[in-house]
Chain length 202, copies 4
């Protein structure tokens, strides 16, 4: 049904815009410490680290979004709406980042932070399914799609473990969340995700 | 008069940028509750819901904007200025969202919220008329345009009802506004809005 | 010297992004009034009007920027740096808008507001000259360019008059600034600025 | 290995978006002075100058980013991740700018400001190396690349000198930082960086 689709160029542009704003306005949550000198900077080091975690989280999703939408040149309404749902849950990350920062990474705020990452992961899965459905029709599904999907499920499991973990050791939970970030960066850097020649794209 | 027009690529890019910023900076209105634990989150749940409503409102307009501008490849000054008017009224939504949140959804703030949605709807109608005028010249008007326009009028009527309703039951008025959102998501997801093959677009 | 130039696509994208953020973050300056009901809204009506003026100012410059860059497909470093200078002075508008709002439109703040508009106008003239220099080389200069340039000078003159005017009657100065806005919207809506067929552009 | 690459269009779009937001939200750090009249403006003049420095810093990096990515039409994961690292360190500039402003340009804050510029410079070097690695494969490396790289190292050296300098004379350190800005603007404006005909690009 190619006549029911429309091009993904504006979907990409809008998503890039929203993700760019999300990733950047989080810096507004960073408050200059009252204490002068290195002591002040040291005091806000954990806050800088949480900012780093959130930035990397959005950055990784941007790369995945890029790879996913890159596969298809057209989108249907299912893709559009699951994309909006993904952007909505991602847009809450600056808020939940502020939550962790202002609550000094207490159990509940860290659990909430992990939970918001799970919701973002689930909406991204919906987007992945919506795109996969289109690709199956046009025969564009590939083995890597399944591999990335599996990695995605593993990340969600780690975030899920982080929630009860936050109850006992909030910083251990943050370590689990950091681990997911590391896992995504390292192997993706090793294995390319777009095996087809993409020069002709766009 | 093709010589009096210019391409819509930058109109789309600028509108995408403005709508992306509008939809995302609203999250800055969400304040972390003072109360610790789930009780604090529960307290701000209505605020999160209003954020959700505003996000969806802009999201739906982005999709409609996408469909509308997609029809034409060129724009005249009427389109440019009605688009600026639409973006201006949409840009006030974060302010009126903050209004509802800070006034704890009292009658006046909810009525104002609904009124701002009506103004945004009217400016979008102006944009629709400006694009429609261009399409009539080039013969690109289609039955769906009229169907969507009718749906648009129905939404405006519901927002209009929400204003006096807010006087008596602010939450009932918010329900009416939510209803419009639901109506737009559900049937649009079912019926595609771009029946022509759009692969060749751009 | 076509080999010393590069395409304007990213120049447009970056400028669109910066102008979109400028135009939208100004809404963060709007504070919800403490007073409940219509009285509160009425109290902030002048603030809303100043926001409207600033929004329209950037909107008109975006349209002019669009027309200007549209003329050329390539840019040299002169264009790049004058564009950055234009974006820099435009980026200060949210600050000077906040200035007028927080100082309740006193003489000095309104004069400063007009002065910042003049600086933005001058940097835009520099950009216009840089593009004009390129167009002269490629023979793309047109009569409308000169017409718009004249209109531009007239606007600068009105802003210049607004500065001493602000000393005696701040609101009269704001009226002069509003007048410029009206002048730009009305005739531009009547006379198109891109007489060539632009379908083939990009 | 062309099959392991993907197009740079979205990399450019996302980077443009992030840099546009970074460069613009810094204006939110500018606070309207309490004092009325010209005295108030004079008081915040140093703050405006630091905003100008930060704006120009990002502006210059945007131009360099533009030139760098312009060279290649495709990117691998090394490019993607070094680009994210560059955007991350650049995104901290509004925070370190606020740091300098709120600490009234004391020794530590200025040293921190220079240090953050060095980190941004280093991540940009990583990006340059990642792109250079791709270009070597496709044979696209050019003499100017080496020239710009040398200029880049010189800038880093100046920033490095600014750190101990800040300990004794913070304003002298800021002058060194300003010098780097001037050096980048002046010769780049004279010597074009893209000697090949770029009309056919994109």
């Amino acid at each position: 049904m190619p006549e029911k689709l429309f091009p993904t160029t504006r979907l990409e542009a809008f998503s890039d815009g929203v993700l760019a704003v999300i990733i950047t306005i989080m810096v507004l949550e960073l408050k200059v410490p009252e204490q002068n000198g290195p002591a002040g900077l040291l005091k806000i080091a954990p806050i800088l680290f949480i900012y780093f975690l959130s930035f990397t989280f959005i950055g990784i999703y941007w790369i995945n979004h890029h790879h996913l939408i890159h596969r298809t040149e057209q989108a249907d309404h299912r893709v559009l709406y699951s994309n909006l749902a993904f952007l909505f849950s991602a847009s809450l990350l600056p808020f939940f980042t502020a939550y962790v920062i202002e609550k000094h990474a207490d159990s509940f705020s860290v659990a909430l932070y992990a939970a918001s990452m799970i919701v973002t992961g689930i909406t991204f899965l919906l987007l992945r399914l919506a795109v996969g459905r289109l690709l199956k029709q046009t025969g564009g599904l590939q083995p890597e799609d399944i591999a990335t999907e599996r990695k995605h499920y593993a990340s969600l499991a780690l975030y899920l473990i982080a929630i009860p973990l936050a109850h006992f050791h909030p910083y251990l939970a943050l370590t689990a969340i950091t681990l997911v970030t590391v896992v995504w960066i390292v192997p993706t850097a090793a294995t390319p995700a777009c095996p087809e020649d993409s020069t002709s794209y766009r």
